[in-house]
């Protein structure tokens, strides 16, 4: 081949190489339109976890427990995910949630609409009750005690959050600090993941103090430097999270579920995995009277615990 042909080939090769598409296109006809119809969900016992965390976290925590319940009781259970505490409470009230796993304060609100507690958990700490932690940045030297929180910006988890707001509010109340003493009180934005958002807000300096339930800091242990967070104070311990059945839910079904719960033994490795994943050490029987202290706190703080209360 002559030099000229080499040159010509060299010049034209990029053009030929660039021609055409290098993958096959799938022909799709977009003209045939039809509005989709949702498939009807099969009948199942609805189970909900008060949206203390993101839905995925809630799902992850309770996935194994629900699998266990389905196996142990033979019931079909479906976890549902209300976006807010309020929605959770309303859904229980409307009968859309059969089994609710909620904090004590939410429970006393749901109990007002007929829901009844039948089990409570043992916290990872090994105790059946929990408390609120008031946190601030370690480098915030202006905060040495609760009294220093006056005039500061406080971010709480949710107005309905027991460990994230109400217990801390009770603690501030007992220390003579009222809500009006803060420069502002804000709540974690958006649905889900509210505990983490409060920690992150304190970490970022958006607020001066934050209130979360105990154990919440551990969730972010691998994501932020917890050494930068300082626990300023803790509230008194109140009964831990509670399982309740909505009003009208068949008691025998509740009993089968309760029995399955109570059968979980942390000493058994399989059960331990289920319980640890769900953030608890065990489940024990409970009755409505166990939450009288919480009702008193609500009364003290002037909170409305009736159905359809403040949102």
């Amino acid at each position: 081949m002559r030099r000229r042909e080499f040159l010509l080939t060299g010049l034209l090769l990029p053009f030929f190489a660039g021609c055409g598409r290098d993958e096959d296109a799938v022909r799709v006809d977009l003209s045939k339109r039809q509005e989709p119809t949702m498939r009807q969900q099969p009948k199942a016992v609805s189970y909900a976890y008060l949206p203390q965390y993101a839905h995925t976290v809630s799902y992850e925590r309770h996935r194994l427990l629900l699998d266990y319940l389905s196996r142990a009781t033979g019931l079909t259970l479906r976890q549902v995910f209300p976006d807010t505490f309020e929605e959770h409470v309303r859904m229980v009230e409307r009968g859309e949630i059969d089994i609710s796993f909620s904090n004590p304060f939410a429970y006393i609100r749901m109990a007002a609409s007929g829901a009844r507690a039948f089990a409570r958990i043992i916290e990872p700490s090994g105790k059946p009750d929990f408390k609120s932690q008031i946190i601030c940045r370690r480098d915030n030297t202006a905060l040495a005690s609760l009294a220093d929180c006056r005039g500061k910006r406080w971010m709480a988890v949710d107005q309905s959050s027991a460990g994230g707001y109400i217990y801390a509010l009770g603690e501030f109340y007992d220390n003579g600090i009222r809500r009006s003493d803060f420069a502002e009180i804000t709540f974690a934005p958006g649905p889900g993941g509210k505990q983490e958002k409060v920690v992150l807000a304190v970490f970022a300096g958006i607020c001066d103090v934050g209130s979360v339930r105990d154990g919440a800091l551990d969730i972010l242990r691998d994501r932020i430097d917890l050494g930068q967070i300082r626990v300023l104070a803790e509230s008194k311990a109140y009964p831990g999270w509670v399982y309740c059945a909505r009003q009208g839910f068949p008691p025998e079904t509740t009993a089968r579920i309760a029995q399955a719960f109570f059968s979980l033994n942390f000493e058994r490795p399989d059960d331990a995995v289920i319980l640890t994943t769900a953030g608890m050490r065990g489940i024990i029987p409970a009755v409505d009277a166990d939450y009288a202290s919480v009702r008193r706190l609500a009364d003290k703080l002037g909170l409305d615990t009736t159905v359809g209360g403040d949102e």
């Binding site: 799938v26 977009l30 339109r33 989709p36 992850e60 649905p191």
Partner: protein
């Protein structure tokens, strides 16, 4: 019709070149950029689509778990607002469409064309007929459990439109750059074209022969001023118009411009290529002018030499010609052309076979070939038949050789030697006649004595025999025949000039009239009329009256014999030519004339056309001898010149006739006037 490329103007070519260069750069650049941008955008689109779909899949985990269709709808609608996102929709784990961004219903065909592969996002190129779409299917996985699929469609056509716009922009800017580039290129081309046109005009002047104008610009200072050089003999000294590296003497410039790179003159006066061309052109013009002058001088010399040579060649009566190695004529002189009766131009290029008659050409050509082959000169005499009389040529052929000695032609000269030949023949004839005369004279002298004895005894015996006897009759016969013999012997002696002549001053006309009167009566019996036309001035000559009378009687007798029995006219004329000191006589008859082959022999002894016994063939030869003895000339013309007999009544006789002309010298100065020139016609 599109003009040929070579016919385009220089300016157009430069502009075309600029356009071509910019085009060759811009178009591939635009194309490659477009391709690179398209590939890059495509890759970017894929990455972006993956990020968007995975982000969507991650973001919808919560609303998907809570079946918050409003949030899901908001999310897909938010994506749909992005320009190049064609659609977004979400499928649950059963593959049912939960929300989508389409208006007017969901395209059902879209559901199954793409799906996550092995739990990872998958990309599929879709062709909707109107555009190409990259479909991204990202799985919604929550704690390892698939909960659904997030699907996003990114328009590749729109992405490529951006690349197209980029390419278009490059092309636009390239075109703008081309237009901008054309302005300076036009100016540049105009400048170059102007200089080239000046060179062209200069060249045209050179073609017209005007070698004086200069194309190159003059220098500010000559090289001698720059270098402070005092070599005034150098051609470049003080010359501002031409560059010294082109004109300087070889010992000054060394190896030429290459050796001048570091010279301050070269650095100061060196121009660009066009200026170099113009300056070289000037030097060439000067050199050309010098050479032309030399050439003209040489041409003049050559022309003069050629003219001289031609004059010599044309002036010579010899036939000169030059032939090439193929025997073709290269050049001939005027005499040769006249000899052949053709022009020189018509002869050049032909061969002897074409210009000579068929019976001569091949032989001439063969002779040429022999000389060319042998390489040696040759000379020979040839006899050519020509109207009137044969022509003798003495031909010399000399081979012409080049420097290597190779024969490249031959020079042929031919000289007309006809007259020389005639002289030779006459000389031979004279010698022959002289020998015969001597022989005849000797024989006659020896016979004369016994013949006299025979005659004497015959006459004596007649006295001794009775009259009327047979013996007397026989003796008379012997005496008569003896006298005939004595007459023959006397003629022979006269022919050999052994007879004595008695020359006296005599009247030419009287001599003629005596002879005429002697024969007039006898010829009249033959119906022959003798007309005399004699010069009235009665010329006197110095001669032998008897012998001359014998000549006249011989001539009249000959004429009588020629006319024969049918008769005719016989004209005798005489004229005196004082200036030529001669008297001429004409003896003309209206007979049949003499054949051409006999004309040269009639004066030979014993030549006769008469039957045996009627003539001895000595009459004219004796007459020739007598006239010659008188210092005259006798010659014959036959047929007689036209109009010769016009003054006579010839009875309608149209025979050719014969004229004998005798010139005899006068031996004294004539004082009488007469015709200045003897001319037969005038006579």
């Amino acid at each position: 019709m599109m003009p040929q490329l070579s016919a385009l103007s220089f300016r157009t070519k430069i502009n075309c070149g600029i356009v071509l260069i910019v085009g060759l750069i811009a178009i591939p650049l635009a194309y490659l950029t477009w391709r690179a941008a398209a590939v890059s955008l495509q890759e970017e689109t894929r990455k972006r689509g993956l990020v968007l779909s995975e982000n969507l899949a991650m973001r919808i985990s919560d609303p998907l778990l809570s079946m918050d269709l409003l949030r899901l709808k908001n999310m897909v609608d938010e994506l749909d607002k992005v320009d190049d996102i064609s659609y977004a929709f979400i499928l649950d784990r059963q593959g049912s469409v939960l929300v989508h961004s389409f208006t007017g219903g969901f395209p059902v065909a879209l559901t199954d064309v793409n799906a996550p592969r092995d739990g990872k996002p998958n990309i599929r190129l879709l062709d909707t007929g109107r555009e190409f779409i990259d479909d991204f299917a990202a799985p919604v996985v929550i704690v390892g459990t698939p909960f659904g699929t997030a699907r996003i469609g990114l328009s590749r056509t729109k992405a490529e439109a951006a690349a197209d716009r980029l390419a278009l922009m490059i092309v636009f800017y390239s075109a703008a750059a081309m237009v901008v580039a054309l302005a300076p290129s036009t100016l540049f081309a105009r400048r170059v074209t102007e200089r080239i046109n000046r060179l062209k005009l200069h060249a045209e002047e050179v073609v017209k022969g005007n070698l004086d104008p200069r194309a190159g610009p003059p220098a500010l200072r000559p090289c001698s001023a720059i270098l402070d050089c005092d070599k005034k003999l150098c051609p470049a000294y003080g010359d501002k118009n031409r560059r010294c590296w082109l004109t300087a003497s070889p010992d000054q410039r060394g190896d030429g411009p290459e050796s001048c790179r570091d010279c301050p003159v070269y650095r100061e006066q060196k121009g660009d290529e066009i200026q170099d061309l113009a300056e070289t052109f000037d030097v060439m013009a000067v050199s050309l002018k010098t050479h032309l002058d030399e050439l003209r001088r040489t041409e003049q010399v050559l022309t003069r030499q050629e003219r001289l040579l031609r004059t010599i060649l044309d002036a010579t009566p010899d036939l000169v010609c030059l032939l090439d190695e193929n025997s073709r004529y290269l050049a001939v002189n005027r005499a040769f052309a006249a000899f052949l009766g053709q022009s020189s131009e018509a002869i050049v290029g032909t061969t002897d076979r074409e210009v000579f008659p068929d019976d001569e050409g091949p032989d001439m050509h063969a002779q040429n070939r022999q000389v060319l082959a042998a390489g040696r000169p040759s000379h020979r005499e040839v006899r050519l038949r020509r109207p009137g009389a044969p022509q003798w040529l003495h031909i010399v052929r000399v081979p012409v050789t080049d420097r290597a000695g190779r024969v490249i032609g031959l020079l042929r000269t031919a000289r007309d030697v006809t007259q020389l030949k005639q002289f030779q023949e006459q000389l031979i004839q004279s010698q022959k006649m002289e020998s015969i005369g001597k022989l005849a004279g000797g024989v006659a002298h020896e016979i004369n004595t016994p013949l006299g004895v025979i005659l004497g005894y015959a006459q004596l015996l007649q006295e001794d025999v009775p009259a009327g006897s047979q013996i007397l009759t026989d003796l008379q016969t012997i005496e008569k025949q003896a006298k005939v013999c004595r007459k023959i012997v006397a003629d022979l002696l006269g022919f050999s000039r052994q007879a004595e002549s008695a020359k006296i001053e005599m009247c030419f006309n009287n001599s003629l009239m005596e002879a005429i009167s002697l024969v007039r009566h006898a010829l009249s019996l033959e119906r022959i009329v003798i007309a005399a036309d004699l010069d009235e001035r009665m010329p006197i000559i110095y001669g032998d009256p008897e012998k001359l009378k014998q000549v006249w009687i011989n001539l009249l007798s000959n004429a009588s014999d020629a006319l024969g029995s049918r008769g005719g006219t016989l004209l005798v004329r005489s004229r005196l030519f004082v200036d030529q000191q001669k008297v001429t006589a004409w003896f003309a008859d209206t007979g049949p004339g003499i054949s051409s082959e006999n004309q040269s022999r009639i004066f030979d002894p014993f030549f006769t056309t008469k039957p045996v016994g009627q003539g001895t063939g000595l009459g004219l030869s004796v007459s020739f001898g007598i006239i010659k003895d008188h210092g005259g000339v006798i010659r014959v013309e036959t047929p007689a010149p036209e109009g010769f007999f016009d003054a006579l009544v010839t009875n309608g006789d149209n025979a050719p006739g014969t004229v004998f002309i005798i010139d005899l010298p006068l031996d004294h100065e004539e004082t009488l006037g007469g015709p200045q020139l003897a001319d037969l016609r005038e006579a």
